[in-house]
Amino acid sequence: MEPRKIRILIAKPGLDGHDRGAKYIARALRDAGMEVIYTGIRQTPEAIASAAVQEDVDFVGLSLLSGAHNHLFPEVARLLAAQKASDIILFGGGVIPEEDIPGLKAAGFRAIFTPGTPAAEVIEFVIGEFAASDRSGSR
């Protein structure tokens, strides 16, 4: 049987409109055989969490370049937990200072990719995390 498709939500919380990075990653994940739900720019954490639940995604990838990551990223994690969806794996990307990364990881983000990260690295992360999760088994 074919392996189950990996589903990923790529979203941009906050107010910056720079979506090149998000689109670049979405496209690379598509070419790696994944189903990528792309919700576009200026999304509230509530809209992102709700979409993630309805779409039953395995991953949520957030991209942010405005500097508001320390507030918005953990907020998405909190809202997912409130909807009993903390099994969804979180990762983030964008202009994020090195010193902010430990805090985001503590908030539940499994990886933070900074500018210049090759797409292959993100794909490898997704495949590895998926294989190690319970999600790869039953459904």
Binding site: R30, A32, G33, M34, Y38, Q43, A51, Q54, R139
Partner: protein, 317 residues
């Protein structure tokens, strides 16, 4: 999942729990073990809810129109389910599911449930699981269930067999009046929406569509034609009232219900056939040795098919 878990999941779906509903949709979309039992628990031959299909070429404005329809139905207190299908790559199997982007303003409304689906190799404008997914949304209390097809060309008419009402969205500039005369999608709209009405060429499009409809046999019901701009909102009131009329008019019809159940049985039988054929092929040594035998000139795909059919017939007799 065991039988008890599936019954439990079905109960949670009916109660409207979003996480359970989302999981049920995944289970069925992935054809996971137990999906047939789950669908059995949720199946309702009476189907009190309505399904509305929305189809048309890529970029015609289907998702934007869907967004407007959701807002309209919400203002009338209806709970709206949406299935939005986008194409899967024939090469990687991956997909960009981007219809949701235009409907995200409803993401936080608990009365709206939107699910994106990749076509996953299915041709016809939908995915293999779309019909079952619409049954699940209906069982969860969403009415109507709106089904947006992939952007279609000329021949992808599957949605018309699934939806109570099919909306065909057209835009100016995609061809002359001979395109409009062609068989296929031009025949399936109960409501033909001429979108982007502010663009040049809208008068010619309307004339061509109406002239074509006048040539239809008088026995078949004539599609309604409405001009609008989903973007600006112009013409939407007429569209909504026309659509409501069609939905109300499509009320419980024993013949239509019989036809739907018939289609459900045939659809399920077809998927059983595909799975059995795959198993028979596997028992005969798998696809790759078969490919080798064809390449060596020993046989052809047609003879392999004949052998599979003989094997299956033996099992039947």
């Amino acid at each position: 999942m065991g039988p008890g878990d599936l019954e439990n999941l079905a109960t949670l779906v009916r109660s409207g729990d979003p996480r359970s509903l989302a999981r049920a949709l995944s289970l069925v979309e992935n054809g996971a073990t137990g999906s047939a039992e789950l669908l059995h628990h949720l199946y309702d031959a009476a189907r009190a809810w309505k399904t509305v299909g929305i189809t048309g070429p890529p970029g015609a404005g289907k998702s934007t129109l869907a967004d407007r329809l959701i807002a309209f139905w919400r203002s009338n207190g209806r709970r709206v389910g949406v299935l939005a299908v986008d194409p899967s790559s024939p090469f990687s199997g991956g997909a960009i599911l981007g219809d949701r982007l235009r409907m995200q303003s409803h993401a936080c409304d608990p009365g709206v449930f939107i699910r994106s689906m990749g076509s996953r190799g299915h041709v016809g404008g939908l995915s293999a699981a779309t019909s079952a997914a619409s049954d699940i949304l209906g069982a969860a209390g969403y009415d109507p269930v709106l089904i947006e097809t992939v952007g279609v060309g000329q021949g992808e008419v599957e949605v018309a067999g699934l939806a109570d009402i099919t909306i065909l969205v057209l835009v100016p500039g995609l061809g002359d009046d001979v395109q409009v005369m062609k068989a296929g999608i031009m025949e399936i709209g109960d409501l033909i929406v001429l979108n982007k009405a502010d663009r040049p060429g809208i008068d010619q499009l309307e004339a061509a569509v109406k002239a074509n409809l006048e040539l239809s046999p008088s026995s078949s019901p004539r599609a309604a034609v409405v001009r609008c701009s989903a973007e600006t909102g112009e013409g939407l009131d007429l569209l909504f009232s026309t659509l409501e009329g069609l939905i109300t008019g499509s009320g419980p019809d024993p013949a239509a219900r019989r036809e739907r159940v018939r289609e459900d049985i045939l659809r399920v039988a077809e998927s059983v056939g595909i799975r059995l054929a795959a198993r028979l092929l596997e028992r005969g040594g798998g696809i790759d040795p078969a490919v080798d035998r064809v390449l060596n000139g020993e046989t052809s795909p047609w003879m392999i098919g004949r052998d599979l059919e003989r094997l299956a017939s033996k099992a039947v007799e």
